[in-house]
């Protein structure tokens, strides 16, 4: 009998405890004595954060950690939540499916490139989470994916599994710009006007409504023939059912308002108006519907349809009760979203924490992932940035960026690694395969980085 009990105990220990032990010792991190900007419940000085199993376990003074915890001295440092970029095309091998005005069947998930160096640079700017959107060439673009920048991990580790799915819409100039045609063979595409763009969207939802009815009838056994699965309409049905978030690119407020009216007509909610540089004109209408605005901090009047944009856009929207986020839409700008948030304090005087929320908690809410990220609160994922100075200072840069308690950017390690990389380069360059041919051969290629920019240009900046 006793033997049996011992045996059972052994079995249960071997079944359970290794996992627990492993998970506990896997990463326990204690950040000590830092200024903590929670982006939810205020700023606390000389405060500790205890991270266990990738989650924020405790926030307080003089916290205790187990013996094998990693201790990070936060004296003189500032700690913020990881930045969430609500509009990005980083790590996508393709951005625009140009052929049709409705390309809801496409998925950015299919073309993620986890080796994109821009991910690492974004981490170095404190960004941990991004909404990776299809481009803006089409009235209804592709399905987006919300990812955490787990650089170095396999591609399937990037998407946030429980993030609600979304889709890109685009209004105005970009989808109607058919005269700019990168492929001369292509048949000119409908629509050509702003009203045509609206018609395309309404038509798509009429088709989606019919398609939904076909399936509803089939499921209710009113019809025997199973309808064809239509990958174009399926995501739009999800929009109608409130299961998929709509992120609508646009600049002119009349167009954004029109889209809100179409959404009213079909009974769905638009999650975010993207760019929305004139959204201040329709702030009450946006607030009433609970729609978010994801804007640029500046880029005022940078193109004709953005002519009426003003520096106070963000402030007016915030004042009207609209959830405002500030996005980058750019690999480069992504690295300094902290300064874009700071601009919201300058123009109108958005309070400091509210400004910080615009790059953390608010985009997390807009993307439906605020249960796990966006602020420093107990129980949330440990997506945390440690800065050398207040993140709204022009002298600030991240020293450490972690996602779920794992460090993905460490400035000190980056600096020491540079010598190693230089050494590796020298070794590699000496190899035969890497030596340039003595004569002949093709001229050197334009570096990849520059080609990327050219490609963007060929896209007509349809991002």
């Amino acid at each position: 009998m006793r033997k049996a009990i011992v045996f059972l105990m052994l079995v249960s220990i071997s079944l359970i405890s290794p996992n627990l032990l492993f998970a506990q010792s896997k990463n326990e991190i204690l950040i000590r004595n830092a200024t903590v900007l929670t982006a939810a419940k205020g700023t606390f000085e000389n405060t500790d954060i205890l991270i266990q199993n990738g989650k924020i376990a405790k926030i307080g003074k003089s916290l205790k950690a187990s013996a094998n915890a990693q201790i990070i001295d936060g004296s003189g440092k500032f700690v913020s939540p990881g930045i969430v970029d609500c509009h990005s095309h980083t790590m996508l091998d393709a951005v625009n499916e140009f052929s049709y005005s409705v390309t809801s069947m496409t998925r950015t998930r299919d073309v993620l490139n986890p080796k994109d160096i821009a991910i690492y640079r974004a981490l170095a700017g404190g960004v941990t989470t991004a909404n990776l959107l299809h481009g803006s060439a089409n009235a209804i673009g592709g399905q987006n994916i919300t990812v955490k920048f787990k650089y170095g991990k396999a591609v399937e580790e990037f998407p946030i599994a429980d993030a609600p799915p979304g889709i890109k819409f685009a209004l105005g100039e970009n989808p109607k710009r058919t005269n700019f045609n990168p492929t001369p063979n292509a048949v000119p595409r409908y629509p050509r006007t702003r009203m045509g763009v609206m018609e395309v969207i309404r038509d798509a939802f009429v088709r989606a409504r019919d398609y939904k009815k076909e399936w509803d009838d089939f499921r209710a056994k009113k019809s025997n023939v199973q309808p064809r699965r239509d990958l174009e309409l399926e995501p739009l049905v999800e929009v109608l059912e409130g299961k998929r978030l709509v992120h609508a690119h646009g600049y002119r407020s009349d167009e954004h308002l029109n889209l809100l009216l179409i959404a009213d007509e079909f009974g769905f909610k638009v999650a975010t108006l993207q760019h929305a540089l004139e959204a201040y004109k329709i702030a009450p209408e946006i607030a009433k519907r609970g729609t978010g605005a994801s804007i640029f901090a500046d880029s005022w009047s940078y193109k004709l349809e953005a002519y009426d944009s003003i520096p106070y856009n963000g402030y007016i929207l915030w004042k009207a009760g609209v959830s405002v986020s500030i996005n980058s839409d750019s690999d480069e700008r992504m690295r300094r979203l902290n300064l874009d948030a700071a601009k919201m304090m300058k123009y109108g005087g958005v309070p400091e924490e509210e400004a910080l929320k615009m790059i953390t908690l608010n985009p997390a809410k807009q993307l439906g992932i605020d249960r796990r990220t966006g602020s420093i609160e107990v129980g949330k994922d440990a997506d945390i940035v440690i800065w050398n100075a207040h993140p709204f200072s022009v002298y600030a840069h991240p020293e450490l960026t972690m996602i779920e308690g794992e460090i993905y950017f460490d400035r000190s390690k980056d600096l020491t690694r540079r010598a190693e990389l230089q050494k590796e380069r020298e070794t590699l360059e000496k190899l035969d395969v890497n030596r340039p041919p003595g004569s002949g051969g093709t001229p050197p290629k334009v570096p990849t980085e520059q080609r990327r920019a050219d490609l963007d240009d060929a896209d007509g900046g349809n991002r």
Binding site: D93, A94, V95, N96, E97, F98, S99, Y100, T103, M105, T106, R107, T108, D110, V111, L112, N113, P114, K115, H134, G142, A154, V155, P182, T183, P184, N185, A186, V187, V225, Q226, R228, R229, D230, L231, L421, E424, R425, L428, E429, L431, V433, N434, R435, P436, P437, S439, G440, G441, T442, P443, P444, K445, V446, P447, T448, R451
Partner: protein
């Protein structure tokens, strides 16, 4: 279902395949066998050979040091150290020679005619997408029913270069389109297409690319969704047909869609799908698609397959591994940025891929991967050996492993009694620099090297006589600028190894500079003015029959071109 197919004997072959796969396999195998036996009987009835006193690398069994291989009527009649030489055999003294099973090149486009006749010169750019001659519901490039058998040219002379390098069997398929179509496994001998075929169709081939006509898909995003929708539609078509065949009354007749039909054997796993994938992420994408639709996948290319060897092993996916290793081709320029670490690493790492796959237990076969000189095949196989692959495994990847992947290891890939007599005989180890291929047998037919090579020069390591190709003439070409094919005329005047002439397009007519003709083809430079600036275009290519093809490399990258000779 069965009855219907039998009642209509001229259904596309793909329709036959959705019947019982077992039946189909036997049927195809018997057909291939019968055609081989018949052809051998007809042409070389008395062809009996005995290679004596040779070292024999059987691959399936131990190496034999002084053995005899008897070839009769296209098959290996006997192999062993105590085999009697038949009285009627032509004896080849194999002293100092090594007999290998005929080598496979696991992915090529050999023997395929050009897809579409080029537009007449001077017609300018078309204003509408090129109309496909097919009556498929899908545009050119999205037609999985495209079949290599239909485009195969008959005649064995076209394979001389590859056969002389020791290759007897190749997989061949087009490289055009998102769906490249169905491949064929062929022997590099036989004067009719039916004689050459070992197994066809073997697999559907798929590229992560886009249509160049401006039609959907224009971006990689759309390529995925187009594939998904087609596979779903094919599944639905099949289900509807079953329902309809039971009771057609009151139900709309399912369409006879030949493109979707071609996907049915892929969905039922009876036909593998070969994904052209080189980078780590491309391979992962292919594996994920295979998982999503439960497909029988094969990776072709596989440059970075070593990085995902564990995934390949877990999903039991073989690799047709390219031996076209990347090397630096750009000249050094003080103004150019340094190459990225990724590029430098890739070149150093690629030869290690084969060893990594072998270590992880992933099945792989070597392919030429579009290399410019087939002599690089053995050279780079040897580099794989220098980088961690055993020599036996390297030979296996050119023989039995390939036969296994192609499902023909019961008749090819090793030197065993009763197998097809495909043999490659060389003086010197096939992976060494100093080797000469002396005899190649395909289907028991002997091809002796026409010209004994001069002393092999160690720098090239090649065994090919340094002849000069014949390339002179005027060619109507199309430069495949993505989405904007550019027609033009290439006028080549050849004087020995010197090439002159010009390149005419609607942009300009520019003279050829530094033109050279080599054994493989030709190359030249021409200066083009475009958008107010001038740059050098490096052009290299080859001429096969009346076909011309090659690459134009500019500072913006490389673009393929192809065309035909103007009579």
């Amino acid at each position: 279902m069965l009855r219907r197919n039998f009642a209509v004997p001229f259904l596309p072959s793909s329709a036959l395949k959705i019947m019982k796969s077992l039946f189909r396999r036997c049927f195809v195998a018997v057909l291939a066998f019968v055609s081989i036996v018949m052809s051998v009987n007809a042409q070389t009835r008395t062809a009996t050979f005995a290679i004596t006193n040779a070292q024999v690398v059987t691959v399936s069994g131990p190496n034999l040091s002084r053995a005899t291989v008897v070839v009769r009527d296209g098959l290996i009649e006997a192999v062993g150290e105590n085999v009697k030489v038949p009285a009627d055999a032509r004896v080849i003294d194999g002293s100092g020679l090594i007999v290998y099973p005929g080598f496979f090149d696991a992915n090529t486009s050999l023997g395929l005619a050009a897809p579409v006749a080029p537009r007449p010169a001077g017609q300018g750019l078309p204003t509408t997408p090129t109309q496909s001659p097919s009556n498929s519901n899908y545009p050119d490039g999205l037609q999985p029913e495209e079949s290599a058998i239909e485009r195969l040219k008959s005649g064995e002379a076209q394979f001389e270069t590859n056969r002389n390098a020791g290759f007897t069997t190749v997989l061949t398929v087009s490289r055009d389109g998102v769906f490249n179509g169905q491949s064929a496994l062929i022997n590099l001998a036989g004067d009719s297409v039916s004689e050459m075929i070992i197994r066809a169709p073997f697999a559907e081939h798929f590229s992560f690319t886009t249509l160049r006509t401006g039609q959907y898909p224009t971006a990689l995003l759309g390529t995925f969704s187009a594939l998904r929708q087609m596979l779903l539609d094919a599944q639905r078509l099949q289900a509807n047909r079953l329902t309809y065949d039971k009771n057609p009354r009151g139900m709309k007749r399912p369409e006879a869609d030949k493109s979707l039909d071609a996907l049915l054997p892929v969905l039922s796993r009876t036909m593998p799908i070969v994904f052209n994938a080189n980078t780590e992420i491309e391979i992962i994408r292919a594996l994920d698609l295979a998982k999503e639709f439960n497909l029988n996948a094969i990776i072709s290319g596989g440059q970075e397959a070593g990085k995902v060897a564990d995934r390949l092993k877990a999903q039991n996916v073989p690799v047709l591994l390219s031996l076209n290793f990347p090397k630096r081709t750009t000249t050094a320029s003080p103004e150019a940025d340094a190459e990225s670490l990724d590029v430098l690493r890739l070149r150093a790492e690629t030869p290690k891929t084969a060893g990594k796959l072998a270590g992880a237990g992933v099945k792989f076969a070597f392919q030429s991967g579009g290399m410019t000189s087939i002599g690089d095949f053995a050279t780079n196989a040897n580099k794989a050996v220098e980088n961690g692959l055993t020599k036996d495994a390297a030979i296996r990847a050119m023989t039995l492993s390939a036969a296994e992947i192609f499902g023909v290891s019961d008749r090819l890939g090793s030197i065993e009694k009763g197998k097809i007599a495909n043999l490659t005989v060389s003086r010197g180890d096939i992976l060494s620099k100093d080797k000469t291929i002396t005899h190649v047998f395909v289907d028991g037919k002997l091809f002796e090297q026409k010209e004994k090579p001069k002393t092999p020069t160690p720098t090239t390591g090649g065994t090919q006589p340094a002849a000069t190709a014949s390339v002179g003439g005027n060619y109507s070409i199309t430069v495949e600028i993505p989405g904007q094919p550019l027609p033009g005329t290439l006028s080549l005047t050849q004087q020995g190894e010197i090439l002159t002439g010009n390149l005419q397009t609607q942009l300009a007519t520019t003279p050829i500079k530094d033109g050279k003709v080599t054994a493989e083809g030709f190359n030249f430079t021409t200066t083009v003015e475009f958008g107010g600036s001038t740059f050098d275009l490096f052009v290299s290519g080859k001429v096969t029959g009346n076909q011309i093809s090659g690459t134009m490399t500019s500072p913006q990258g490389a673009i393929p071109f192809s065309g035909t000779k103007i009579p």
